[in-house]
Subunit: 291 residues, 4 copies
């Protein structure tokens, strides 16, 4: 049975989520002990070899998230960019993600099409009323009580001040957002700290320490943050290792030197879950009547 | 413009292909200098978190291969298991893979549903006439001259002798196969050597040195092998690195110690091909009439 | 909230299901008053323009069924051919269909790949133990109590006698099948009548009156049949009407003469459910604080 | 071999295209003699049971268009709404549609997300520079010479005057559009006539006579129109026929009265193309050596 994010938030402590782009990544995150999986827009876009700039459609993000939900028991939180359009798109999105077994969606207060927050570019913030419409639409579309809508505040990303970020977060909470993801690409956790100290609402805070990843997660917990998302380290590890391994095979002319640096086939088979399958010839042993 | 496998085979030398399961992996293989990509059934199944036992359907394998073909210029060779059924399925398969931009498909002489060759299990070889039907169907369904059908011989995998493998390979070549993949899970290259020395046909040989990967690829070339496929080392590197990185983040409580072992965000962006996109605001500079 | 087939079976009377191949067809079936939808393998294959001979994969059938489940509140019963392989494939299938919101799956006792029951061809019946394995696998894979597995008996289709059909149905019921679909392509309901009169089990019977469609459904009810599936009349109506309308537009040179024979745009919009969407600009009217 | 739209335009006369939403519809259009297929956004949205308001993503529209291209030899012209976002999205779109075998795409000068042109609503026209960017992006992304980009002018739909429509059409032609689709929902062809008489460019005109469908296509030809698209009559015929047939089955209690109004199973099988498949057992007759 799936555990949902809302249940995990009922107990004290900081939850840690790992980014993933396919069921395999979700299984690894679950296996090593993460509390949940972040179906990362950056990771999924990268796995398709396209920019994280609203190039992939909701369909591809949804299929990836559904595959993860079908593969692990820990909650899936889906990075849903801007909500893929306006409030109508958001309603459609929530119905589909909820049906896919996802525990929460995160939508950010930028305009479609968006650009990845870590890229220079023409980041366009949505107006507060426009984004509140999307939140209201999202909350009105969900059909279960556990499903959560996380509002992601991009104000700091585009260079706005802490007070605008706080103002927006309050508006989003009032519109019904179940949690606030305050996003920052500052090289230290100073922005997050300033924001968190000004945050006087009971809505839980979510952070994504990519540029300020050196901060220990317990520090975020002391600020009242409830969820810490390690959003893209998994795929970045995979890219480096795959690149180096393939390059080494080419340059050395064989697999001899890479063998010790890669998972065994047995590990691959274990992650694939070979065990529960492949037993069918035995199943019918006890059913012999009427033959 | 895409280069096809058949063109590469016209020049002398051994071609080396790397396994991949998504466009990102194909891009890495191309980037480090591989001659082509093997759209690996094991890798794709693993990425979906399911056993490599005909659990995924042709649709999922095809979508993965199409995405790779759309992302790189080097040829894609698709691992198509048994052909996904009988000769009718094979015809459908060839039409779809060819339309997807794939340069060659490989089908193996087992019965559907199959089990991964490296797993113990109830491997069932197809009869020679049955498998020849699939080859004939495949060749009759292609619409371009460059497309290739590779027949994969599993005789050695299931414990049959070299002479049966040779016999089968000849029958498949006579039925129209453009190349023969002789598969072995022997811990050294002895089986491959014995097979290659008995092979007196002009049809090129293909090998997959997973268990006998310590052999230098030039050794295979001396035997007359034209294509060497490093079928799963890429994902195995990714699995180990992702697992260790995520575990380290959990145990250390931050990203500090993993940062130096993972690709930078800039590397991710480069692989995503950010450059060709994101320039649109400039495009219209020269179009101002009629406004 | 979705009503499931099992709930409907708890009240007396005959349930009638209509075949469909997409959400639009499911909506029409619900709109005119059918009790449920049959996600028809023949209809879905036809909509893709390919033979109903295991050419489409589970993925395409599943996507179609999921779309229907997301579009209507009446139960979806999915035609799952042979189960798409062996017992391992069936387990995978049940997990995916159940997660997609489908209320029941039907699997038939033929071997993969199958051919449509109404086509001459090399229909190959599964052995009883083999098919019971698939049923056991299916039942062991479901996670909710409402989900149903319908075993479809093809013995009469391939020319076997009533007693073999009964024998098989009993074996399937003993293996756990929740209902028995007894299939016949006899031009009258005589075969069905003979089978039903010999059926002494409490497992409900399902029939598909395509060749014997002149029989009133209440007659089936008198035999103890609980579910009658009108499996393909919807798409057959669509094919005839679309063909005639398009031909008339070509020959007459305009739409004038066809206009009265086709649905209005307003009807199309109603079926698309325009109403619940497209209202977003009003949503935020009551949320103005913090702006 | 596929015929492309550009080839058909090289000979004189008016081309007629029929709307379709799946391969079956495309096959019917080809069978009755249409020159090409319009992969209609309205039809595809309707088949999924969702509003034609950018609710479906490019992925779903593309999959439908690819399926059609794989099923017929006549050209497919894809209705691509607004291009699914900005110029970056349009480049991605063109690459994918061209790879899918589509002969031309049509993009309209509205903002994403759009609303169907026949619905009242908040239709927002793009600025000319913005839309020219999309056209330039589209043309720069294509890789073959036959591929065409059709610019669809929505000025008349949103109540602008003929001269603005002409002005926009010229700007789009200058930006590289290969053809101009002038859209009108006026109940007669007066708007189209006025536009066509003012059109002094060599770029071919395209019209979609849904509301003014009573006009004979030769009249459009006399105005210099080269392509007439009957965009949605096919699905409207299907909806009416399916609804009436299913309702009749329910009310009459059997299929007796509908049987004569629906296509036979044989017709369904013919459209599925049963013939080319299902012959495999004979294929190997001539291959008996080495067994």
């Amino acid at each position: 049975m799936r555990t949902h994010l809302r249940s995990l938030l009922e107990r004290p402590g900081v939850l840690r989520l790992a980014g993933a782009h396919n069921p395999l990544g979700a299984k690894i995150a679950e296996h090593v002990g993460f509390d949940g999986v972040w179906a990362s827009g950056l990771e999924i876009s990268a796995s398709f070899g396209v920019p994280d700039a609203s190039i992939l459609s909701m369909t591809e993000f949804l299929d990836a998230a559904r595959g993860m939900a079908e593969s692990v028991a820990i909650p899936i939180v889906a990075d849903c960019d801007t909500g893929f359009g306006n409030a109508d798109n958001v309603q459609h999105m929530v119905r589909r993600y909820e049906a896919a077994g996802v525990s929460a969606v995160s939508i950010e207060d930028k305009c479609f099409p968006k650009t990845n927050s870590y890229l220079e570019g023409n980041h366009q913030l949505a107006t507060i009323p426009d984004f509140c419409d999307r939140i209201i639409a999202a909350k009105s579309a969900q059909s279960t009580s556990y499903f959560m809508v996380i509002a992601r505040v991009e104000a700091l990303i585009v260079g706005r001040c802490i007070s605008e970020a706080i103002n927006r977060a309050h508006a989003y909470a009032d519109a019904g957002a179940d949690a606030i993801l305050i996003h920052s690409k500052y090289p230290t956790w100073e922005e997050i700290k300033a924001f968190a100290k000004s945050w006087d609402s009971s809505r839980p805070l979510v952070v994504v320490p990519t540029t300020y990843g050196a901060t220990h997660f317990s520090k975020f917990g002391e600020l009242g943050v409830r969820i810490v998302i390690y959003a893209n380290q998994g795929i970045r590890a995979a890219i480096k290792a795959t690149t180096e391994t393939l390059a080494e095979i080419l340059s050395s002319g064989s697999c001899e030197s890479v063998e010790q640096h890669i998972a065994t086939l047995e590990t691959v088979f274990e992650l694939q879950g070979v065990a529960p399958y492949l037993h069918s010839p035995l199943l019918s042993a006890s059913v012999d009547s009427h033959r």
